[in-house]
Structure formats: structure tokens, C-alpha cells
Symmetry: C2
Subunit: 366 residues, 2 copies
Amino acid sequence: MGERARENAGNVGRHFADFTRRDWEQSVEGGPIRFAVVGVGGFARNRALPAIKDVAATETTVLVSRSIGESDPVVDEYGVDAVLGYDEFHDGAATESYDAVYVATPNLFHRDYAESAARYGKHVLCEKPLAASAEDAAAMVDACDDADVTLMTAYRLQFEPAARRTREIIREGCIGRPVQIHSNFSTKLLDNFGPGHWRLDPDVAGGGALLDIGVYPLNTSRFLLGEDPVAVQGATNSWDPAFDRVDEHAAFQLAFPDGVVASCSTTFNGQPNSQLQIVGTEGSISIDSPYGDVPQEIVVECGDMRMEYTGPPVDDVVEEVAYFANHILTDRRPEPDGRDGLADLQAAEAVYESAETGERIEIDYL
Amino acid sequence: MGERARENAGNVGRHFADFTRRDWEQSVEGGPIRFAVVGVGGFARNRALPAIKDVAATETTVLVSRSIGESDPVVDEYGVDAVLGYDEFHDGAATESYDAVYVATPNLFHRDYAESAARYGKHVLCEKPLAASAEDAAAMVDACDDADVTLMTAYRLQFEPAARRTREIIREGCIGRPVQIHSNFSTKLLDNFGPGHWRLDPDVAGGGALLDIGVYPLNTSRFLLGEDPVAVQGATNSWDPAFDRVDEHAAFQLAFPDGVVASCSTTFNGQPNSQLQIVGTEGSISIDSPYGDVPQEIVVECGDMRMEYTGPPVDDVVEEVAYFANHILTDRRPEPDGRDGLADLQAAEAVYESAETGERIEIDYL
């Protein structure tokens, strides 16, 4: 036990030594990948557009928006070739000017943009959740498969070094066999967006806290274990009238095929906070603020050994955009593909069903 | 928001300033309470007997055990008046020599000792879980009520200052309305006890990890909220052949009447660890290692304010024994009474039923 714990601890140290390495990166020729960014709201302006500019292999050449005009400063800042309205985009305007789309619209519209992009032979990087329903997500997967274009779900968490290194040390057996995962993600939605926001409209968002931010504990659990839950149990509720149409709070259990159970919770109306812990038979890993802007301290325990890491921060949207481009240019399928996004939607819909019926719901993946 | 957060933070500081105070203690006359300690195993020797000696208002006068003789060093060390076999105890030997019993036997035997004690008019302090089944626990409650003796469940966690101060600041509204609780408790049972241990026998223990250590997150959630869960969902499993008769791992959700959901998990075969977090609408509280020998760091967040506390440690068994004696001598009913222990057994049995059936189980408290 002492010997094994020391060996495990040594392996952990080896993985953390080169914390921010891009284990997925291959040398490329060609490029850049020219993006049409669809939906020029806060996320696009603050994160996606700067990231695309920052990545050598990508550039933004087209903006697609209902609301911006040629005089919007963002047009000059990124030197785009075209600014399109939504109908123009769907009608195939300026298709010679871009190779891929970054879909950053409200969830309901993801499907239409992805299907149009596929129709014009464009690759798709789409914000999470992949769609407002599993049905829509499945249609997106089919459309992109049929058109032979890449569909990637923008799970930026998967490009956080904390998550990638944690997965490596789990796979290496440093914490023994994983037993349980605990994770939560809470935010104060109304402080960030106000009461008229589309995330409060189930027709546009597809769901509430569970679908919007509960997808982080959900996807991260699947990512770390490399498995999909076979059954879920859950509970949702809403107290504040602002959330009378979507779940304000959600708590759910994911049962994985090898017996691991992940206990997750999320809320739109709680002190901003996130936590992730993986308990194994021989060790444990805890990450403070895994879903915040920058993961904070990582604590790894192997038997009696306790190690703390705080790695250098990365811009996870930069990592995600670089990953997307690198996979297109090397003709590889991204790991967070459309199927990954679809599986989360199926799991989330099963949690809603469990919350409604009180029953454990087994998932039959499409 | 900023103003309220500052006010909340100030209230937190006030509660933590006198961290280890015994908010429950009243001045007493009379005593000491003379204990018969029933079941002289590791817990009694290492924790209960020293604690009873340490508390001015209590002393050990009788030992009840199958195995110790007059020559056992523990007899001299505590200067007891009598050493009884189990049958002698049940038959009413030396009843003039003790006022209360501390039941520290395996769970299955709690009921018989409590019933005998009640029959002889003795107060009962009984280790957790209160019994091997809710049925047994209910019988103990009735027997002690009928005999008008005190029955207290030995939830030492309730006497940890970290738990008591946390409950105070929740009640004061420092974190707004509680939304979610996350808690886990994992141990390596086989490292501590070996494969022949009674906790691996469901007939003696009444259950596995859920009943033995899952009761900590369960009882603590109830303690902090001052409410009982109305419904539970859960999953249990076992992988290691050593645990083929009891649950090796358990994960469960508790739904409280005001809408709080507690997500809890526990295992007999995981890296030793415990965590507790309460997320509220205006703040959160996290306790590292709440169920370990000494709670470690407490982190309280109120809006943008973050405070860390590490209070002076107490011996929680000393606190518990002192509380028990103080309540008997002032003729007050202890808060962790028999009903408290019974409620946990009903909730645990509901979790087992949910794990078996896959359904959310509503609890009809006795």
C-alpha cells in the first residue's frame, strides 16, 4: 500500500510536470480555417472572436447576426469580409468566404445553423448544449455526417489542462478504481443576465439550470470516465417566479456501466461556486472551481500522500478553437463530437423524466 | 447585494469568534451520572471511556462485556465497581451501581440493551446507527418513552463546533436560503477492521456503508436544516467479494420539504475523505473533512466575501457525553434523541428500497 501509493504519487507528478501541454496537437499544413461566427452576443465578443484571432490557424471572415451593422466596431476589429443577416446565411451568401461556423446563438437555433452549414459543406463548432433537444442534436449529427463535415460540441472544459491531466492520472490508475464522483456548479443567473434572458425561456433554451450549466458536471463526469451513464435519477425545482418556466435547481445521479455513480447538482440561483471530486479505491482528486474561468487548486491524494497543484491558466476557448482547427487540418474527428453533445442531451432529458416520474431512467443512446 | 453580503459576513465572524462554546450547557446540581459501558471494544476503550472520565459530571462504574475479566487493565484504569457479562446485565445485576448506559455494541444488539436499561429505569446513550433496523429503533424509542428515561443517539458530529456554528449561520440567513447540500464520506473499512468484521454482516450491522458512515452526511443534512427528508432516491453497489453481503458503495439524494436537495455519497472502499458543502442563494459554506477526527478548514462565502476558519479542535465524544449528562441533570430532552436516530434509519431503509426498485421513495415517519 505505501509502496503503491508512492508509485502512484510519482506518476501524478510526472503528468502534472508539463501541465498545459497540448497532448492532442499534430503538426499541420494548410489553413487557416476561416470562421463564420453566428450569433454575435457577449460570448462571441468576449471569448470566441478574440480566441479565433489568437489562434494562428484560424481567422474570422464572416459575422452572422440579426443586429450588427457595418459600423459595429467588431467589424473593423476583426477585418471581416462579410456581415450577414440570418436569412442571408441560410440562403448561402458568402459561402466562398468561410470554411467553418462557430454557432453561438441561443440553443433553439443551433440546429438550423448547423444544418445550413452542413448543406454548404462547412464544418461546425457549436456551443453547448448542442441543441435544445436530443431530437435536434441527432438531426445535427446526421446532417454533418451526411455532408462529411466535422461537428464539434464546444465543451471548453475538455481543454482545461486540469481536466485533461486529471483524466490521465485516473486512466493510469493513480487513484485505483474510480468509485464516486461529486460535482456541482452554481451561478446567479439573474445577476448576470436579468429577467428577460432567453435562458429563462424553455422553448429557446430547451431547459433550465440542468441543461445550461448542469451539463458541465455531466459532460465532465463522462469525459473523465470515458463512459456514458446507463441510468439516471434526478430532482428539479423552482422557487423564484423568474424561473417559473425552467428548472432553477437540479440534482442528479449518473450510474455508469462499471458501477461508478456521479452525484451532481446545479443551480441558477446559488452562490457562484463549482467543485469536482473523484474518489477512487486508492486515491482521490479534488478540483476547486473546475467550471469557473480558471480552475483553481487541484488536490490529489494517494493513500497517505497529499499533493496540491495550481497550474498556469490557459484560455480554454483558445484551446478549443485550436483543437477544432487542428483536427480539421489533420482530418481527425474531434473527441467532443456531435455524438458527445447528443449523449448529454439524452442524459439531461432522462434526468427531467426522472424528476417528473420519480423513477430511475435507463438511457437508450441514439 | 454588496451591503447585505458585508452584513452576512459580519454575522458569520460573530458566530465563529467563540468557536467552541457549549451553547447547550446549563448549570447543574447533582451528579455525577454513573455509566455502565456496554460493549468494551475499540471505540469504548479509545473514545468513550476516556471521555466519560474526562467529563466532570460523569464516571464509569460498570463494564458490560462478553470477553473482559477482572484482570483487564481497563478495570483498574477506571476503577469500576462491577464487570458484568451480558446475561447478568439483562438480568438486572448491579443496577444500583449505574444511572445510564453507553451502548457501544454491534448494531443488532442495541435494542436489547436499551430495552433492558429502560426496564431498570436507566438512561441510554446509544451509538449510531440507533439500531440495525427502523423497527428496532422504534421499539427502543417506545421502551424509553414508557420508562420515562432519556434515549440519546450518539451523533458526535452534532457536537462538533464546526457543525453547530454552521447551523447557526445558516439559521441567521448568512447564506440566504439554502439550496443544495453536497456531502460524502469515504473510508477503507478493510484497512481498519479486516475481512471478518461484524460491519460486513448485514444481520448484525443492518446494512453496509450507507448505514454505518452514510448516516453522517444524512444526519448532518437533517441537523443543519432542522428538517427531515420527505423523499429519497439512491443507488448502492458492491464490487469486492468482501462486501458481497452489504453495500460497499452508496449514493443518495434527500429531498427536504422546503425544496433543498442533499446529494450524498459514501463508500467502505475509497480513499479516506469527507466533504460537506451547503450552497445558498446568497452564500455557501464548505467544510473539509467534517466527519474526520477533527474538522479542518471551514470556508464561508457571502457574495464576493470569502472567509476561512480553522477552529480549535475539541474531543467530540467528550462534548457528546457532557451534553448527555447536562441534559439529564437539567431534565431536558436531548436534540439527537431516539426519534432522531429512528428518522435516519427510516431514511436509510428508504434509500435501500429506492436502490432496489429504482423509484423515488416517500418517507412516512413513525
